[in-house]
Structure formats: C-alpha cells, structure tokens
Symmetry: C2
Subunit: 516 residues, 2 copies
C-alpha cells in the first residue's frame, strides 16, 4: 500500500524508516530446498565464489568436489605474511620478509557495511571486523606540481574548499544571482546552511579565525595552565587552492563504497577464506590445473593435471558444475559451452592493478606525522599511501600500502618491472611524501595482478556496450554449467560481487537441478 | 631562518612538511630536574590531572601523597560496568545492570589524535586504542518537524547538500556572477572542482543517476549473476532539503576535535585512569573529604575527614600542593589563597551535561539498520544517539548512548528528573528514531553531572570576559599551591586540558620549588 500511494523516493524513505526496505536485493542467508538424492556438483576454483557455492550446495545435500589450482584456497581474498612465497608468470619468485604479526592484503582490503552478503558470512563464521580508516583528515594530499611539491594536510584542503565555495555561493545569493533558482524563503536557509557548512563569519566570509581553526586546525593549539595562547591558522587562498588541483583528492571518501563504516577483518582479509576452507577441507583438491571442461546431457566432466606433476591427465565427473575460474583464464581453456557464453568469455578484458606493500622499522607516520590509518593521495604513479588501520601505536615494524594503481597506465608501468624495481620505485616516489622512507625501510613485496598465473589480471572490466552484448550470456546456466565470480556481477573487483554472483548462480542451478 | 623568511602560513606548511612543527605546544613527555632532597607534595583529587601531576613529581623525586574523595581514582575519566554503584547529591542511588563486557563512558568518551599529551600517556602505559566512529554516513539525521518526522540517512542529506550547492555555484559562475571574485582561469578549475565535489553531470546539474547513486547510495543495489538491475536513488529536492534544517546536523564531524582518526581506549575510557592508579596506589588515600587547605611560608596543610566516617578532623602537610578539585567544589571550601585566585575560583560557572546509557537485548541498529558505530543526530532533547564503536556484530546485549545534552536547557531538564525518569524520556524520544526501542530495551543508567557530588557540574565554562579577568589568576602558583584540571586550561571539558594543565602546573611549581 505504501508502495502504491507514494512515489519511488518517498516510498523508499517511508520503508527505510520502518525498517522494511533492504539496502540491496540480498535478503539474508540463502536456504536451498533439498537436492535430489545423489546429486553431485563439481566447483572449479576455491576463491570466495567457489567456496560459497560449494558450501550452500553441500547444505542442500549435493555431493561436492572443489578443484583449486593453488595449494591454498581463497584466490584473490589473499593475505601475505612473513615467509609466504609466490611466483609470477615468468617464474620470478618473491618471499615475504615481514615481521611476525604483520600482513598485507594484495587484493581486496576493504568491506563496505552495505556489502550485505559479505557481512552475513562474516557474522556466520564469527569473523572479527575492525574499522578500516578510509578518510584521515590528518593524512596528506599531494600534487608534485603544487605548493612546491610539499604535501598538504587533507583537513586544510577540505575545509578551505568548503569555506571558499560557501563564501562564493553566499555572495552570489546576496547579490540576487540565484533568484531564478532559489526562493527568498529558501535563500535564508541556504545562507544559514552555508555559514555552518563553510564556517563563514557573520559577514559570510571565510577568513582566519578561532572558529575556522576549530575546523582546519590551529597553528598553535590551545593548551593548559599558562602555556602559550592558541594561534589560528591561515586558510589557503582561493586561487592557490583551485590551481593546486588538490580538490580532486578530497572526495573519494564520500563514495558509498568507501563511506563509514568501512571494515577490514582483523588480522588479514583472508580470515573468511580460511574459515570457509576449514569448513570445506574434505571436499578440496589442491594443485589441480583444469585443462578441459566437457558436458553431456547427463553430466559434466572436468579434465585436469596435477599442477606440481604435469603430464598425466585425470578427470572428475559430476551432475553439475559451478565454474569460478576467471574469464582471463577460462578463455584459454577448452570449455564446452554454447557460442553465446563462449563469446562472452572471450570478450571480457581484465583490468590491471598493482600493489606494493612496504614494511618499515617503525610507524613514523604515526610518531612523526600523527597519521593513524587512512590514505594519503598523490599525483605520483604510486597514487596513494595507505597506513594500517590496526595495531595503532604498536612498537616495532609495520606494513603500509606503498603503491596502488588501478586500471591505468601506471599499473602497466609498474607491472612491466621486476618486483624489486617496483619496490624501489614505490620508495623513490613515496619518499617525496615521507622523507623517513630511506632511513626506515625494511623490506617489501609487490603484486602485479596481470602477472599472477592464476588470474592474469585483476578483475573483469565491463564497458556499457560489452555488458549489453555479453553479460546475460555469461551469467546464464549453460546446460549443466554455470559461471560465478566478480566477473559475473555488477560489482566488479569487489568480493560482494563474487559472493552474490555465486549465490545467484547456485539458486538458478539448483532450480534447474530439482526440475530435471 | 625559515621562520624569518616566510609568512606565518607558509612557514607552518614548510615546517610541517619537514616534520619540525609541533601540532600543539606539547612537545613530548616532560622530564623534570631532580627535586630538592626531602621535598614533598600533596595532590588533591586523583583524576587524570592529579595522577599525572603526582606521577611526574614522584619521578623528579618528590615524596607524594594523593587525597581522593571517592573510593576509586579517575574522576570524570570514568567507565560504568555491570554492578557499579553511585549516588547523586540527594542520595538517589543507581546500580548498573549491564551484561558482562558491556560498558558506558558517562564522561569523556573520545580522544582526538592531536591530543598529544593523552596520546603519549596511552603509549607510555600501553593502552590499546580503537577507532571511535564519529561520522557514520549510514546513521540518521532527524528533525521532528521535517519529512513527517521520519529520520533520514546522513549520506543522503550530506550528498544532496553538496550536490545542490555545487550546482547553484556552478550556475552562478557560468552566468558571470562571480567575475569580481574569481578569474576566468580559476573559474575553469572551480567548475571542475564543483563537478567532482558535488557529483554534477556534464551540464553541471545534480540529478539522479548511477554516478550520483555511487555517492548517496542506490534504491536497488547492484548485484551478481542475474539479480535485478540497480536502480538509482532520487535526491531530496533543494527546497525540501533547505527547509528541513537537516544541513545543520552534517558538519560536526568536520571539526578538528572530531576529525579522523578519533580514538577510544578499548574496553572503556578509564583504561588510562586504572593504569595510573595501579602506578600510584601506595600514595593514594581514598574516601578523603578535604575540608580546608591552609598554607604558610613553609608548608601546606590539608584538613580532611573520612568520607565514610565523618567527624574526626585529620590533616596532612607537605611542602607543596597541587589541587585538582573542581572550582565548583573548591569555591565551597576554605582554601587559603590570595584574593585574586579566590575570586577566580568563585567566578567560574560550571556547565551542565547529562548522558543516558541504554542497554538493549541485541544490536538492532546493526542488524536492522546497518548502522555500525557513529552518531545519529536529532532535534529532540536527547540530541543524539551514539552506537558502540566496538565489538561490531557481537551477539547479545549492547549499550548505546541514548541521550547526550551538553550546556543547554535540555541538560537542565533531564537533570531535574530522577534517573528512571531520564531513562524513560530517552526511550520515548529515541523510540521515534528506532521503533525497536520498546521491544529490545533491557536496562539503563544516567549521569547528570550537576548532581554528581564530586563535581557538581560537568566542566568550567569560560566566557571571553571571564577568561580575561580571572584565568591567569586561577592558573598562577599561589605561594605553595597551584591548581590544575580542565578548568585551568583552554581546552575545557577535554582530558587533554586536564593533563596539559597538570603538566604546566607541575613545571612551574617545580621551577619555584628548586629555587626557594
């Protein structure tokens, strides 16, 4: 009734306040009806999508087999710790040198609170979450061509952009320039709003004052007893601020995906993968390199070799197959599906992304610069430096994200280098923001997703036209095979995409299976 | 040299980027020179100020005695847990009924990262800090007279205020209304900045779109597989937004005091108080009601009674005295100081503040509304609801802050009620934001600071004219007595104020003591 009587937005507001509207179409843990007696499924790839599919199908009564290329489950839900080893496509091997207790998430590293499926699995497995600090007002924004290359505090740039734009709009409003767009009654409210939002004075101006310093910080902070009196700070001028381009670095924390409360699992992103792996251990076959996926009217047969002892072909058959192998690899395999799905698999390009993790001897960003977690942004190819959102003030070595370039030329540039060269480059660029780098560096690791054998790319990159032509064909159940993973979702590169895709795939496969 | 060559702001930026400028005048742990042999000090009040003073003077070699009115140290640095009991001025007693592991901070509850003295003591005592979530984009803003009394999501109001004001300013800029204030060259940058900040489309308009929903959230979220397609959300109209006054509730997280990274000690605010208390236990005399503070040319004598067995007067003498008793109580005592200090003590009014802590059977704000920590704001007398920033997703009962009114008539209104009435009122008002209140309520506790015997108010309230007339007189060393506490600072109502005041008092007292 509410839905019929009201328009979309009003309805949504009414329902939300009554607690009835879901924030997404995910509506809680799935519960499949019982499987047919003796029904079986083979799941390819033990990343989150594969493990979630296996878990839910097993719950419904399917006999489940999980084939995984690596010697561990989790896929891109991956955490690197001291002693871990891995290789790139050309065989270049890295061994992680971090101190005990330190870690680095080379793939996903954040979980939005509205990724409801992820949150449900975290709850179900009792995974402890801690706040991931995305926006740190005291971190830096940095443009190598502005302010003589000196990093600025996020809080200064953000407060000053708010202040100056509010002053300009208040001025325009007072000069009658908005008369077409804003009624007189609303103008009063607008001015009051701008004075609050922009911290304008009674003359609607944004100028140095104690009140403005209450937002952007003081030059000398207020103290106790007879300590020196506080000294307000001076805002950056409008011209300098606009020409610095630093306003382009202050808005990402307002994106829904990065809004508070954003989470990370305590101890590393792989906490959920490890919990799922424990649960599914007895169904798992590791080091299994799939070479062919065949299907008939009655079953699916997956051919594979042992990744460590290549040669002898083996195979496994089941009634159904959930394949979560990334399209980047699947396109290189012999998979027996219709032309539409085949063409979709072959058409999807994969985005590039690189990350560099750097361990330093101490948390100089906390000790010296009072940056506790969060992200500094820069126009340099490292793009950002992200400080750990955990173990604040802990003595001893700590790991930060020293470079993260995503889907751009910098990520290809980094990927073309050796791991050591990438680390050296991250140190050289990052040292322009934190001069302590050279003195405090201990060791590093880098992951260039295009060079990781089991993904050969970071994630599926869907353009609007690609989606139109291929997405539905990729997502359909093709006879006895269904695909799942972030590439079969509208949330690419996010774990929520993989999990929702797996849940949806499993529902549709099951609906078919019980009706065959 | 940098200081001489450059102006204030430029100098500060230069020094900050070199890591040389302190964020406040606090420059690290103090180290007093050795005290005179046999020198002694009596410290009155074992709150943070008193304990910090005692600790640092003891380190310098003073013989220290600490007199405390209560049977515990910490003062307003106080955490309530199940089983705790306390009384108000009229004897009304509350026993806290929280489940094991739950707690409530009735006094200070947040620590800004730039409260450097507090941060140093946390580090020194190994206190584990966790992020306090001040801004939660998914929490509510609420005006009982707007949107039919329905709470709105913070993210909607903030994104829409940014969007609409950016659109208006872009329009004014394009119409030439800013030509006096902004050059043509800067106008280009301004428009680019507004498109980013306000999420405007290529025509500089703020209208429903996928991109806008990437900031304010979708009506139907993107999914996986063949789940329903995403549906963008519809922004609130400019008129409705402005008239709702909700723009007044979206800015406090931009204040320097509340900016990221804001902290809370894990397990309760009293963690530092308890650590200091353990350290100073052997110098502490609890249940000690000071009745008179006398001083001569050679010593200070403090007269007191046992708070539990009143009657017999006792006394203790020392060379020096640090008195951290709030001025609200000190003004009622016989303290032998000069007229200037006496007049300062008598002139300082104390602010009112009330908090209500409510325990519910489950975290419905997380389960039902996806609010993990942070604050919902309302125009109702409870002013805000703050959700716990710890133990996210934990099953079982949890405690939230159900009312916090500070220095306004609501706080007096609440203070005039019995504790049970305050809780009922907090439930009635809060239930208009969270209908689950009535079903899920378990128990509550309230602290009205004006009715707490050992403070009789929340904090010293300095007007500009009061400061001018009395502050220096209050902060001076008066012969052998010096006062400390948040009331002797420029950071009233914050723990940093107490600690800085104590450190500054101790430095000046010590400088006098070694030269006498």
């Amino acid at each position: 009734m509410i839905g019929k009587a009201a328009g979309g937005a009003a309805m949504y507001q009414a329902m939300t306040s009554l607690g009835h509207a879901a924030e997404s179409e995910y509506s809680g843990p799935i519960k499949l009806s019982p499987a047919k007696k003796g029904a079986s499924v083979v799941v390819l790839g033990a990343g989150l999508a594969g493990m979630v599919a296996a878990l839910e199908l097993r719950s419904a009564g399917y006999s489940v087999k999980l084939l995984e290329f690596q010697n561990r489950a989790g896929g891109r839900c991956w955490t690197l710790r001291g002693g871990d080893e891995f290789s790139e496509l050309d065989g270049t091997r890295q061994t992680v040198g971090f101190a005990k207790g330190n870690y680095f998430n080379p793939g996903p590293w954040r979980v939005p609170h509205h990724h409801l499926a992820m949150m449900d699995y975290y709850k179900r497995f009792g995974i402890k979450l801690e706040a991931f600090n995305q926006v740190n007002h005291n971190a830096f924004v940095h443009n190598s061509k502005a302010f003589g290359g000196k990093p600025q505090r996020f809080r200064h740039v953000q407060a000053d952009f708010r202040g100056h734009t509010s002053e300009l709009l208040a001025k325009a409003a007072n000069q009658g320039a908005l008369n077409d767009a804003v009624t007189r009654e609303d103008t009063e409210k607008l001015l009051a709003g701008l004075r609050a939002w922009g911290v304008l004075n009674k003359d609607n101006r944004y100028v140095a004052s104690e009140r403005v310093s209450d937002y952007r910080g003081f030059d000398v902070e207020p103290g106790g007893g007879l300590m020196p009196l506080a000294t307000p700070s001076e805002p950056i001028g409008l011209h300098e601020l606009l020409q610095s381009d630093l306003w382009s670095q202050i808005n990402s924390g307002n994106m829904y995906e990065f809004q508070t409360t954003l989470f990370q699992p305590a101890g590393g992103m792989d906490a959920l993968a490890k919990a799922l792996e424990r649960e599914l251990k007895c169904h798992m076959r590791y080091n299994t390199k799939v070479t062919k996926i065949a299907q008939s009217e009655r079953s699916v047969t997956v051919h594979f070799t042992d990744a460590n002892k290549p040669g002898a072909q083996q195979s496994v058959s089941a009634d159904w197959c959930v394949c979560t192998i990334p399209a980047s690899l699947l396109s290189q395999m012999d998979i027996q599906v219709g032309d539409a799905m085949r063409s979709a698999i072959e058409s999807l390009p994969y985005g590039s992304s690189i990350k560099v993790g750097l361990e330093f001897k101490r948390r100089f960003w906390e000790d010296d610069e009072r940056i506790y977690g969060g992200i500094s942004y820069t126009d340099l190819p490292i793009q950002m430096i992200s400080y750990p959102s955990n173990d604040y003030m802990k003595a001893g070595p700590a790991v930060l994200l020293g470079a993260y370039s995503f889907e751009n030329t910098d990520s290809y540039r980094f990927a073309s280098l050796t791991p050591n060269e990438r680390i050296r480059l991250a140190l050289a660029y990052g040292g322009r923001i934190h001069p302590q780098y050279s003195e405090e560096f201990s060791n590093g690791v880098s992951v260039a997703w295009h060079r990781i054998p089991w993904t050969q790319g970071c994630h599926g990159v869907w353009s609007e036209s690609l989606r139109k032509e291929h997405y539905n064909n990729l997502a359909q159940v093709d006879n006895r095979i269904v695909l799942a993973g972030e590439h079969v979702s509208h949330i690419p590169a996010w774990q929520e995409g993989s999990v929702l895709s797996a849940l949806d795939a499993v529902k549709r496969l099951h609906a078919k299976a019980i009706n065959v």
